[in-house]
Symmetry: C2
Subunit: 340 residues, 2 copies
């Protein structure tokens, strides 16, 4: 069969429309791609129109943080996955990409990141549409993970919930009335800066970690451990997850760090849930998926009274939440029906 | 002209539909009523379809807190206002009522109040529709005030803002994406229970005031004043507004109470705005409209850094916010176009 020339991609806010061409493809050859741009890793997943993942690809972004290079890597990943599935570029209907920073999904622009050496006002959607020739959507990575959890994760069908990512930083992706909230400056959910009792009382300066992040982000927990071990110079340098795992085995110093972290996390969850009345908090991120942290925090929340006592669970999708959210958003972008 | 008999009111979730009959009335005779049921006062306002208030009526609810009595008072108020406007009951298209407690507007039920001697599961919409024979909507009073501010107040046209009512208690009515949020149990915005630094760190027990309310609700501010004046047995008993007014004249003890209250309010506003990224906070309620409190809190917030630095203003509608919100909701309930 002679191929028709590909439609010339349109730039700007108008989504590229290849639907007419796409309709001629067999349904099994119509695909979407989800992308997660992380501070250290870039991941791409190819999926069919049912949302089934057909292949995954990942690479490091440590050496290559410029938008041009990241876009070239995304193209490389998509090409590789299409080739593995014996599909051509014409099979690709749409792409959605999660960005690790303040993102305006309406304009398709990444406004600011602290990762990737600090992107500023990068028109990611436009650049990707130009390169890939299909409609593209972009979204903040934590909100994208919330979208994934709402679609096929722990929060499936829950209209008011919070996905709380706890890693190096802390941020929330919140659904109210069944929809993601973004806020007036696209920064809703930056709860790492929250003031909570027992944490530092001075607000953080720009670029610094916020009050809550300072204590229960990755660095904060390591600092807690170091100060707890100050009288024991032989104590090891451990990651947050290792400290919490050690607390589970009964180590009293590690237990002290775990208890303090759980108390602060409980304050934060309680305060956020008073604002939103979310019935469910899904914990994600490298530290958020720690079972000892979730269990200890849940026990503290159980002692709290109404009006707010949300259910606290660990993400069932884990690190796949962003990718599944991206596939979900890519399907919407391709105007495909979404399976519930 | 011979009048047609009034349509028999329907009960349950189905709104009473009198639109066919109403269409025959001249436009100037088609009216809606907004009701604000307070813990001590009941207020009713009659408005035309442009939202212009034609008359107001109020009475005390101190002696008469049962749902039946309150409904009888509402009917009395509406009858009185219709009569003053030389209009019959047939002119009334719809009513909306603000309730001082946890309210499910979908079911039209007031779930719980701490005022009015504690209503529980009162089907207010059904009861009012039966009595008044027109479609009725009900909503929590603070959310109703937010609706009023969004329609004709300080937050007109702002899609992401918070109305923060500070009086005896503290609660927020929040708009995100241009819509009120209610939460999974209709308790979104119960921020009086928030934990903030410098406040009590133990969560409040049911029926008690929450952590933030404990300090900067009306009683809390009076307690702060009493403890500040502990060395001065001749110090007067003052209300929160009087204490803040005295701070403005330079009284050092009153200034201490004002500064502490403003610091806690700034923490709360900052924390809420991190969750929602609201560009605007509208302060209402008896204490919230204090200019010294707003000014002092604004100065503290200005020292805070991004990502959140919302604009803080005092409600332009004051105590009318609930009534204007109720008129707005009554117009929607009557399926009337809303002027922006």
């Amino acid at each position: 069969m002679k191929r028709k020339p590909r439609a010339k991609p349109l730039l700007g806010n108008t989504a590229v429309d290849q639907r007419i061409g796409s309709r001629r493809l067999a349904k099994e050859n119509r695909l979407v791609a989800g992308v997660d741009i992380g501070g250290s890793n870039l991941r791409v997943a190819l999926a069919d129109l049912h949302g089934n993942v057909l292949g995954r690809w990942n690479t490091s972004t440590k050496a290559t943080s410029s938008p041009d290079m990241v876009i070239a890597l995304i193209e490389q990943g998509i090409e590789c996955l299409l080739s593995q599935s014996s599909c051509s570029r014409r099979s690709l209907l749409s792409v959605a990409a999660a960005a690790p920073g303040v993102t305006n999904p309406q304009a398709g622009v990444v406004l600011a990141t602290s990762y990737l050496k600090g992107w500023r006002d990068v028109p990611l959607r436009q650049l990707l549409e130009f390169t890939l020739g299909v409609p593209v959507a972009v979204e903040n990575d934590v909100r994208m993970a919330a979208l994934g959890e709402h679609w096929v994760g722990t929060a499936r069908g829950v209209d008011d919930f919070v996905f709380l990512a706890i890693g190096t930083g802390i941020a929330a992706g919140a659904f109210t009335n069944g929809k993601l909230i973004h806020g007036s400056n696209w920064t809703a959910g930056e709860v790492g800066y929250m003031h909570v009792p027992l944490a530092a009382e001075e607000p953080a300066r720009p670029g610094e970690h916020g009050a809550l992040e300072n204590i229960i982000g990755g660095e904060g927990i390591r600092r807690q451990w170091a100060s707890t071990c100050v009288d024991n110079p032989k104590s090891e340098s451990l990651t947050a997850t290792e400290i919490f795992a050690r607390a589970s085995t009964g180590d009293p110093l590690a237990k002290r760090v775990l208890e303090h972290s759980a108390q602060l996390l409980a304050y934060a969850v309680y305060n956020i849930s008073l604002v939103l009345d979310s019935s469910l908090f899904v914990l994600g991120g490298g530290i958020g998926v720690s079972i000892p942290l979730c269990d200890s925090t849940r026990k503290i929340l159980e002692r709290y009274n109404e009006p707010s006592r949300p259910k606290l669970v660990i993400s069932s999708l884990g690190t796949d939440a962003q990718l599944m959210g991206a596939i979900r958003l890519a399907l919407t972008t391709a105007k495909q029906p979404i399976r519930a």
